[in-house]
Symmetry: C2
Subunit: 304 residues, 2 copies
């Protein structure tokens, strides 16, 4: 539903004014608003009981951590640095002050790790389930261009950070958002397309391809598989990596010569893997499988 | 719960860095972040089914309108102008795309009226009740000082816009946030203390007094009563104005000589009423009743 609805929202964006200082609006991982020295980047993501976490299984500290981490991942996908956050809590009526503080301590800890100031919020008790919403602001240098969902260019390499699959076994709560990688690359290299893998690697690749008006060819054997799936059979590993979702790794498209420089850079702060090529739009999303055959890839993701 | 919890949050604000560019943080109606030309003001408020609205009675358009209007009221209380908003929707599973569009059309209409661009958001369906969250950004001139919850000064007049009470009969959904008044005053006059009456006139006056370290003396006969209560008996009118809540009028404290100038200004865009005086902290919140007797005022508000 979200993407159809966002298309409708984008079509209605023009009803409101002024948009002259809006560099990037609805549909990318975050909005970018022109500033005189630095641009302001802002995103919001909300996590809810039963959809994104389960309070009967997950600690309140890790739920709080996740609420900010998913937003940090969006800021990383824009080549920006996080600065300020606002936190919205809808707390079930049975929640105690101690419960609320445990939740917030998880938010504060990761905020401190990434130099984010919590500057406001809204707290209500209600007869519903736990909802934790975060709005995260950041700044981006005007010299950082690209890093757009619609920025992929023909013949770019498709590069991912980290590894994929099996996030539900724990990493969806404990992942490190790729802020360090994003800041390192944004200061030194020209990135074209960029997003984070939140819905699933296949779905987010499709979004990037559609927004950019390109196709993507993937090489199955090159897709990095998370340790959580290392004991599964090869097909389950590949399916997990493509379809599980909530990996919160960066997906970047980069000109081949720039990627050669990045590969030779010993200071890159996390593993990067070349998983494919940006192609013409009409070839769509394809995967070159282990038997050496190209197949059309039908994206799907985790249904919360 | 909110205010105790916010005090705890404020005490923990310092765990996160950098705060050097944060002019106003947790606890006021919005945060103010230093900018090179204009300061950025940001606030977030979420409304939820059963707490702030009832979808079996209220139209989705008016619910959408309210979600932005309550945030506009916070921006008005900071002497700022709204610019950009992000919208978070948690939609019940039974919601249709048509329902979502009706909700958003109410947001878009008031956004357009107040020159707000919707620049992003987050939409999920879930097994819970309708939640609509808005984060609203704005800008404030560095020459606008005051307009703080803790800005009330001894001997200030206590001034309110509009009238109070009976909001639940309809005005809580249809009120006009006091952006025009705020912008007019911010450009021309020095305002000291400022907040909006959301919880209730008495509760928000108490918050302002406590934050500022002052007391407030009110004159009961001067408190403007909304038309919705005009048929009630005098005590019910006064109680409604003091305790009902969701009036979303501005509460300002202004030096007496400045207020004399404002009274003589024919261009002020809405009714203003002088309802009391800022006094010393130890006298607390008092009300001079119709019988000419000072009584201690015990604040209370609408329990959602």
């Amino acid at each position: 539903m979200e993407h159809d609805f966002h298309k409708w929202l984008r079509d209605h964006e023009s009803v409101s004014q002024p948009v002259e200082n809006l560099l990037i609006g609805i549909g990318d991982d975050a909005a970018v608003i022109r500033g005189s020295e630095m641009h302001t980047v802002v995103t919001t993501d909300t996590i809810a009981e039963g959809t994104h976490f389960d309070t009967s299984v997950h600690s309140l500290e890790l739920i709080g951590r996740k609420s900010l981490a998913v937003n940090l991942s969006d800021i990383a996908a824009m080549g920006a640095s996080p600065t300020h956050a606002l936190v919205t809590l809808l707390l079930p009526n049975h929640f105690s002050i101690t419960d609320a503080k445990r939740l917030c301590s998880g938010i504060f800890e990761i905020a401190s790790n990434y130099n984010v100031s919590i500057v406001g919020g809204d707290t209500n008790k209600w007869a519903g389930k736990l909802v934790v919403g975060v709005t995260l602001m950041g700044q981006r240098s005007p010299s950082t261009t690209g890093w757009n969902l619609n920025g992929a260019q023909l013949s770019d390499r498709v590069i991912v950070s980290g590894s994929f699959g099996g996030s539900i076994l724990g990493r969806h709560l404990s992942f490190e958002p790729r802020i360090d990688l994003s800041n390192y690359l944004a200061q030194r290299y020209q990135i074209h397309g960029a997003t984070d893998a939140s819905d699933s690697l296949s779905l987010d690749l499709q979004l990037l391809a559609q927004a950019s008006g390109v196709g993507i060819d993937l090489t199955a054997d090159n897709i990095p598989i998370s340790d959580a799936l290392k004991t599964a059979d090869p097909q389950a590993q590949l399916d997990g990596a493509l379809f599980d979702g909530e990996d919160f790794e960066l997906i970047l498209t980069i000109a081949p010569d720039v990627y050669e420089q990045i590969k030779a850079d010993p200071m890159i702060p996390c593993p990067l893997t070349d998983i494919g090529t940006v192609t013409e739009e009409q070839s769509g999303l394809r995967i070159f499988n282990s038997q050496g055959v190209f197949q059309t890839l039908s994206p799907r993701g985790y249904v919360h």
